[in-house]
Symmetry: C2
Subunit: 362 residues, 2 copies
């Protein structure tokens, strides 16, 4: 895995000499411009490889090792939420001439630790992280204790006072759930990909991701407000993209006391649900109302289009990058915690409960 | 932007002394375990920060700088095609204990050069790139000439003989277009986000991305086979996510000689098209048949579901990572060019032309 030790600087002339061609010819091949015969080209490339030739520009940046870069560790790069946030980060960074390098934790804290270790070893100038867990943060405390600025994206950590940008998760879940309770729903499920061992029995302190916890609290607030008892029974963890999750969704949707409405914690969960609802022969919204977090591209093209909690995802990325870059420039004011507001886009996926009853008895 | 020069190794004892607490207490705070009072915690963190304390593990990896990592430069991380390919790469890398760090070119060759420069400066052990252009590849030739292994994902470069994994783009486009011609369509548009200045007039050599070129050639093959003349008139470049692209789509769909069928080069283009077709009051497939490259998640949940060219995207990522890792382990056999086969998933988005005529005269 190791490269050979760095040779003393190899120049285009060295390559030309080894390949027995003129310096101009070697430069044309190595620079990728102009025309040369295939044989000459092959000879030059072989010589360059044999000598481990590295062009000056590369050699320079490899010596200094610093080029103004920030590392970003996201939970799941396949979730369009994160890729859009990354665009927000990248656009701001580009304006400051700063490069962004990305790593994916897959929502696993060990992978997150590893990614951070790698990015620190690569000497990034700052880090943006969406922490996979709030229970295991020693590795983040380490960074906060170092001279490398750290900012948190989308998920706050109560015990880590660094620049943080989140959305109003609790309030958003409250407002979305209210749309369902006001439409008369009393059997409402909340589905999240987050994993919690065992059932949820008021044990919100066991939920290790701030967004998950806040949203569940907002969901429960709205249920309580509507007089729905034991709403926590209908919180379903582990509703990800897996086969077991699919099977669990099927089970839920085919049970006699199935919910009449579901709030999905992200668009990946919601898409799985959408497919499963159809597979079970149910119709949205007549048989099942559905609201999801994140205005993913597909939510507006389905029949019916889906009511969503529109998070300012791009702005989330933009803001956290601005905070981090301010630190890179030497700003040392106390850490900021910015909470961005969400809006609800009401589409056609929520039915009044009388409709549900009519449908069921038809 | 620079960090202060590295201080001689600061230990937990140094931090404890500065914070005036026991070493055990400092270790608890810095390690993020056990219980300490808020005041003590604050004092320890402040001392650690003042001394620029870095835990051993970090210090170690920052000294060696090598941790078995590969850099991946993709065209557009927001395109689900690339995020899925990255999962294939990451899964293979993880099995070999190799870390993946990502950068996004946004399909801009300058950004790609920059990303590669950064990753090389960060001393990645190997690189995987989806080249934004085949016309400007000096920076890739540089890498190929260096000791850092390079592999290409999804896009081949005729002039750069390195490990490459692509799909059978030309054949896939041919087969998809055939579905349209055999349904009787003669006005078929091909839409791609790729940019080409001016109209396409048989100038395929001016197309700088191999996938774009191959697919267009396949499209033209099928048109020619069906006796469709001047099919190249209906190739539309620049059909991305922008406002101007939207306006152009509207123009095309509202023109009197609008196409009756469209082949979209990726799912991002296809989703924009799907929305625009609806906005124009047209129906799929009655008024417009649609086939797209990439079996994106949304294509199966729309009404109607969309016929797609299913590329083995995960396998594409997996294969290219396997080739690269083989090089990292010292394999020096000649470069491989692997072409993976695609399949077409026929759904409900293609109509026979008689239907179109009936609809138009109804």
């Amino acid at each position: 895995m190791k490269r050979p030790p760095k040779a003393p600087s190899i120049t285009v002339s060295d390559v030309a000499r080894q390949a027995k061609v003129s310096k101009a010819t070697a430069a044309r091949v190595l620079g990728g411009y102009g025309r040369v015969s295939k044989t000459v080209r092959a000879a030059v490339l072989e010589a360059a490889k044999a000598l481990d030739y590295r062009p000056n520009e590369l050699a320079r940046s490899m010596t200094t090792g610093r080029s103004g870069s920030i590392g970003v560790v996201v939970g799941d790069i396949e979730n369009p939420f994160f890729s859009l946030a990354v665009r927000g980060i990248s656009d701001v960074a580009r304006l400051s001439g700063i490069n962004v390098i990305l790593a994916n934790s897959g929502e696993q804290v060990e992978a997150e630790k590893n990614a951070i270790r790698v990015l620190m070893a690569k000497q990034v100038d700052g880090l943006i992280v969406t922490p996979a867990q709030s229970g295991e943060i020693a590795h983040l405390v380490e960074i906060a204790c170092s001279a490398c600025p750290l900012a948190l994206l989308d998920r706050a950590l109560p015990d880590l006072d660094v620049d943080t940008v989140t959305v109003d998760d609790r309030d958003a879940a409250l407002r979305a759930t209210r749309i369902l309770t006001r439409a008369g729903h009393t059997r409402i499920a909340y589905m999240t990909a987050a994993v919690l061992s065992g059932d949820f029995r008021g044990g919100e302190s066991r939920i290790n991701t701030s967004t998950v916890r806040e949203r569940i609290l907002g969901f429960l607030d709205a249920c309580q407000e509507a007089g729905i008892e034991r709403a926590e029974r209908n919180i379903r963890f582990g509703s990800g993209r897996s086969e077991t999750s699919r099977a669990a969704m099927h089970g839920l949707l085919q049970s006699p006391d199935r919910p009449t409405a579901i709030l999905a914690s992200d668009s990946v969960v919601a898409l799985e649900l959408f497919k499963t609802i159809r597979e079970c022969g149910l119709h949205i919204p007549q048989d099942m109302s559905l609201i999801t977090f994140h205005d993913a591209d597909w939510t507006s093209v389905t029949t019916p289009p889906i009511t969503v909690i529109d998070q300012p995802v791009y702005a989330l990325g933009k803001s956290v990058a601005e905070l981090l870059i301010r630190r890179l420039k030497g700003d040392d004011r106390p850490p900021e915690r910015i909470i961005l507001p969400t809006t609800i886009i009401e589409r056609m996926s929520v039915a009044q409960v009388p409709d549900v009853i009519t449908q069921a008895t038809a």
